[in-house]
């Protein structure tokens, strides 16, 4: 019953509760290992790279042209259209690849929700390309789609074309390889995220007259969206840093001169590490913008348990 000391207790709210109300409780201790790990092994090297990007390498072309100010390397990057354009080249590859991989994996994963025979097999087959690695993919694309590869042979024998079509060493070759390596990745994630959505919700929607498309559009998709956002971010990032396949099946001086080729060129051909760092920082910044936009949008979505009662 009402204790006589009640007025006194009103203000006696434990610090713990106030912190907990702001989300700070012992759960945050779970972050400690990861934070320690990142600080110990990443932050220092990262800061080193960051400050390196502000210290143009003496004697490098950058210094000769733009002086040795802290932003000279950045200036050099943006002043040179051949370098600057690598951003667009990369975005032109990675955005479509990321979008395609996510968008294509959704309907396929959606088809795989229920239980049916052979589901496990199909899942495995669709995920297997993840094991190919860039090298096999690239070699395979070159061999399979090359001028005397099976694909061109088939097309010529069937009579669709009379000269071999060049599928590789251009934009499409790299996009293919990004899809071959990125799709299974996106599919695996999407499928797993999808499995966490309570099937009862779709049933409830069905009783309200929603057909499959509406159920997908209004129930499954919104609940899947937070996962899709992450999936997109990851495939996008993987595609954005594409390097080996851009060189092997692409056109590394022209249409697929992605930004990591520029970074590689600076770091390992010119051995201008500060320029390389600057380019890498620009890469990170561009990615961060895209990822930030996507995750910002994600934050506005419903994220939470998708189960009903019990």
């Amino acid at each position: 019953m009402a204790a006589p000391a009640a007025p006194a207790t009103a203000g006696r709210i434990a610090l713990r509760h106030r912190l907990a109300d702001r989300g700070m409780d012992r759960t945050l201790l779970l972050l400690v290992p990861a934070v320690v790990f990142i600080v110990a092994l990443f932050i220092y090297p990262f800061v080193y790279g960051l400050q390196l990007s502000f210290q143009p390498q003496p004697g490098s072309e950058t210094v000769q042209r733009y002086g040795s100010g802290p932003f000279a390397d950045y200036h050099a990057f943006f002043a040179d259209s051949y370098l600057r354009n690598t951003i667009w080249t990369t975005l032109k590859l990675s955005l479509p690849a990321g979008l395609f991989n996510v968008i294509a994996s959704v309907p396929i994963a959606y088809r795989m929700r229920g239980k049916f025979r052979g589901k496990r097999t199909i899942t495995t087959i669709l995920v297997v390309p993840i094991t190919l690695g860039t090298v096999l993919t690239a070699e395979g694309l070159l061999a399979f789609m090359g001028p005397t590869g099976w694909l061109n042979r088939l097309l010529i024998d069937v009579g669709i074309v009379d000269h071999p079509v060049r599928f590789t060493h251009n934009y499409w070759g790299v996009l293919f390889s990004l899809i071959i390596s990125g799709f299974p990745f996106a599919f695996l994630l999407t499928l797993s995220y999808l499995s966490g959505i309570d099937p009862t919700l779709e049933r409830a929607a069905a009783t309200l007259g929603a057909g499959w498309w509406q159920r997908f559009r209004f129930i499954t998709l919104p609940l899947l969206a937070p996962g899709l956002a992450i999936t997109f971010c990851l495939t996008f990032v993987l595609a954005f840093s594409v390097f080996p396949s851009a060189v092997m099946v692409g056109d590394p001086s022209g249409t697929t001169r992605v930004i990591s080729i520029a970074a590689f060129h600076a770091a390992f051909e010119q051995y201008d590490y500060s320029m390389a760092s600057a380019i890498a920082m620009i890469m990170g910044a561009v990615e961060l913008i895209v990822v930030g936009l996507v995750l910002g949008w994600r934050a506005s979505l419903y994220r939470g348990a998708s189960g009903g009662k019990g």
Binding site: P164, H169, S253
Partner: protein
Amino acid sequence: GGGAKDLTPGNVPDNPKNPVTLNIIDVAGNLQLTKGMIDEFVKTHPKVIKKVTYTNATAPELPGKIKAQQSAGQVQIGLVLTGTDALSAGIDQNLWVKTDDYASRLGNANYQAPAQKMQELAQGHGVEVVYYPSGPLIEYNPKTVSKPPATADELLAWAKAHPKKFQYARPANSGPGRTFLMGLPYILGDSNPKDPKAGWSKTWSYLQELTKYVDYYPSKTSETMSNLANGSADIIATTTGWDINPRALGQVPAGDKVAYLKGMHWVTDAQYAVVPRGVSADVLSADLQLIKWMLTPQQQAKAYDDGYFYPGPAVNGVTVQMAPQKSQQVIQQFGRPEYDQWIPKFPTETSLPAQQQVAAFDQWDRTVGSGKVKK
């Protein structure tokens, strides 16, 4: 490398105090030529080297790794076998031991004259172990090319007449590609073949004209070889080694032929043994003995190999007959007698120093490879 403590000739013993374990890293495919030499040394000198480990790696990333080890004072790589690329990167970044300080221990190598010039590229920070004149040469399919072009102009005309049938790989990724690029200024008579920026105007305009008839530039030499083999290309750029070895391996029909363009100078190539700064005195001591051993004619003869770096030996007085039996057989079967005439016939030039090479590649990427030229 701040953490690397420098050794002086004075504190490096003639023989290691204890037999060392030597970690050798090869970034040039050099072991194919020299592994036999090293293995024999280890077998015959158990007091110097107890064990070797071999690691293969790609050249670009190597300096970073060595730098990381040196900054930490933990140099674990005992010997590096490299081409000119990592050699010069290492020189710029002061990664290598100044082997010239130990010249007396290495003895007089008795390099062939052009090999001697290549040794100078090391600026005293490495020792050349194999050498070859390289190219540029063109390789063609005699079934489709009855008369190979003999001059640069003929090559251009041929390419124009046979669009997409001439091919060379992107110079930054390909030995024959870069040899073709570095050889053209001599063939075309450019003002300064050693200065790609200012002195290669003929070369650049020639390449820009040529690129109109080139379908695309593969990223690996082996792809040009496959294309030659499967008929999608009829003429490709090559070098002596890339001519002999792929035919021996069966990558290219054995019957394909080579030719040179008028005004040809050999743009020579070599590989080096270098020692990272920061190795222990014992390791350096072992390295020096090993390198000296590798430069003896008997060992050098192993460099004939399967024609991969034809001929291979960097020193004088090494004949094919001294090479291992298998080597002799391959060269007998796939080698070309005309090389014996061509090698002494044309002047030799060292390949561009690494920095100019990189500048040339960059220029090539921007003006030729980027596809800016309308086809």
